[in-house]
């Protein structure tokens, strides 16, 4: 990764010197007709940042990830990745530059094995997926790295099983493995532990925590225990607005968050349906 001129980063951003922030989102807005789903969202991820994005259902969290990853185009605002303006780039181009996302509901390729999913992501990162006559079996580097990822995510037993024949938790881990195989600079995880049994959720967080320090991770998560364990900073979204950004400790005492988020669910003992 090359250092870009500081001017490109914007002076007000709290990035370490010489590095522009991994991801900088400024004034990001999106409206579907009269419905505003994102309104002037600012968010900066430094290299190695660990940020949780939380908010009540319908707050616009997934919309935000869709906007940043290029599945939706914003009505206004800008997005830059490591100093480069990517607002007008397609989802493919963003992914190639190291902006990688996962989906709230795993989107895997039925009929393909766990290993094939990971190999596909590796081959894509190595720019080999246009090879018509190469043999994947003869690519020792791919085989080695795939085996290493499979091991790290605890998928060894089912590595050659079809993804439609494994458990949901294992599917989520496969999804995560694909994202990791791409060696992202910025990783957007949309509820990686939702609907996953505790054991696999723990594995998910272990793997995310063990990621190299230069990867910036933004995680949407409902489980507050995971949020507190994972995040250095928490951003709270409500009705398309950022209503709070701060440390996990600060969030507990913040009135606005209480009103918008916790308050909405405050009367329930187990608020997040887990």
């Amino acid at each position: 990764m090359t250092a870009l001129p500081l001017a490109a980063a914007g002076v007000h951003l709290p990035a370490p010197a010489t590095f522009p922030p991994a991801l900088a989102v400024e004034g990001l807005s999106k409206a579907f007709g009269g419905l505003t789903v994102a309104s002037g969202i600012n968010l900066t991820l430094a290299r190695g940042d660990r940020v949780a994005l939380i908010g009540p259902n319908g707050a616009g969290k997934t919309t935000f990830v869709n906007l940043v990853s290029g599945l939706l185009s914003p009505s206004a605002g800008s997005i830059s990745l490591a100093g480069e303006d990517i607002t007008r780039l397609s989802d493919v181009q963003r992914a190639r530059r190291g902006l990688v996302r996962s989906f709230q509901v795993s989107r895997l390729f039925h009929g393909l094995s766990v290993r094939e999913h990971i190999e596909l992501a590796l081959l894509q990162r190595l720019k080999r997926t246009n090879r018509l006559f190469a043999s994947i079996g003869r690519m020792a580097d791919v085989a080695h790295e795939a085996a290493e990822l499979i091991e790290r995510l605890g998928l060894a037993d089912i590595a050659d099983a079809r993804v439609d024949e494994i458990s949901y938790g294992q599917q989520r881990l496969t999804d995560l493995a694909m994202s990791l195989a791409l060696k992202p600079k910025v990783l957007l995880l949309d509820e990686p532990a939702a609907g996953v049994p505790t054991r696999d959720a723990g594995r998910t967080l272990d793997v995310v925590e063990a990621l190299p320090g230069d990867i910036a991770v933004l995680m949407i998560e409902h489980d507050m225990d995971l949020v507190f364990r994972f995040a250095k900073r928490v951003v709270v979204l409500a009705a398309g607005h950022v209503i709070f950004a701060g440390t996990p400790a600060e969030i507990v005492s913040d009135e606005r968050v209480r009103a918008a988020y916790l308050g909405a669910y405050g009367r329930e003992d187990e608020p997040h349906g887990r």
Binding site: V100, L108, F109, L120, T129, L132, G137
Partner: protein, 327 residues
């Protein structure tokens, strides 16, 4: 991990099985070589359809357009003096490739049902064009008098179709071998993923449209080769080669054999055409009903096609075995 079965060995076994089945049919049914050669040329069409539908996940009812264009190209080349059958197959393949690229460029602008309708419109257009351009297609009379020279100057095409069948079978085997390598390649893996969820493939950083265009071109090549094979072995090329009906029958054979598997496509073609032949001979009045019932039964009970029958049975046996062990 070492226990991972070698996919290449599996492919070789299946290729050998196709070769053996072909040779066995050659020995056992020496009077039906004409039908068997038609099965082989149809297999090209169904395999080419499988690349687009089974692998890339795009349903089309216009595949015969590519087949027919290959047939017309090879026939014209022959009438202008190209006698060598291998060269005729190359001409058919190239024409099919060009047609496939154009076909893909048009079809990929649309999605879903609109896309399917577009494929039907295209095959109808090609059909009508072939009907009108009688200078190069012979119109509704078709092109006759196609006479291929001996293969490599050695094997003459005979009246009984011996050379025609063996030549077709050898070209099919060679084509299947190349396609096996392609579907196991990194590109093939990407293609299978695109067929399931193109949007997800994009988020991995892989452009989908170029890959699909390559696939349409490849598919056109295979279909065009099949058309050339038919032109060579039948000696005539007619409008039925570019028809909607032919396209729809190809899809039926693909579903019957099992889409997303090259050998399933071949198996489906042989099973359908063989069954059709037997039933229509046995009962010339009601054979279509029997074929229809077969299709309904297969789609309901073996949805992944006849080629998955072995796998399904094995699974059934394993499950039964496990239940027995528990007791």
């Amino acid at each position: 991990m070492n226990a991972r079965p070698s996919p290449i060995r599996g492919d070789l076994v299946k290729l050998a099985a196709v070769a053996l089945a072909g040779l066995a049919a050659y020995v056992v049914f020496p009077n039906d070589l004409g039908l068997m050669t038609r099965v082989v040329s149809a297999a090209f069409l169904v395999v080419s359809l499988d690349l687009i539908t089974g692998y890339a996940g795009i349903a089309t009812l216009g595949q015969a357009a590519l087949f027919g264009i290959g047939a017309y190209a090879a026939a014209n080349a022959n009438l202008y003096g190209v006698g060598e059958p291998i060269l005729m197959v190359v001409v058919g393949g190239l024409a099919g490739a060009a047609a496939g690229l154009v076909f893909g460029a048009v079809v990929l602008r649309s999605r879903g049902l609109a896309q399917l309708v577009l494929t039907i419109a295209l095959v109808q257009l090609v059909h009508e064009a072939a009907n009108k351009l009688s200078d190069i297609t012979g119109g509704s009379d078709g092109l006759a008098g196609i006479e291929a020279a001996p293969v490599l100057g050695m094997f003459k095409f005979d009246l009984y179709g011996h050379t025609g069948f063996v030549f077709s079978l050898v070209v099919l085997l060679a084509t299947l071998a190349v396609l096996c390598a392609i579907v196991r390649s990194p590109f093939g893996l990407k293609l299978r993923a695109i067929g399931r969820d193109p949007g997800r493939v994009r988020t991995l950083g892989a452009a989908v449209m170029p890959a699909l265009l390559v696939t349409f071109t490849l598919s056109g090549t295979v279909a065009g080769m099949g058309g050339a094979i038919e032109a060579i072995s039948a000696g005539v090329v007619g409008l039925d080669g570019v028809s909607f009906e032919r396209s729809a029958m190809a899809l039926v054979m693909l579903v019957l054999g099992g889409s997303g598997s090259l050998f399933g496509a071949v198996f489906g073609t042989a099973a359908f055409m063989g069954f059709e032949q037997i039933v229509s001979t046995a009962n010339p009045f009601h054979w279509l009903i029997i074929v229809g019932v077969l299709l309904v039964v297969v789609v309901l009970f073996v949805p992944r096609g006849l080629s998955s029958l072995g796998h399904e049975l094995k699974r059934l046996i394993v499950i039964t075995g496990l239940k027995a062990e528990k007791r």
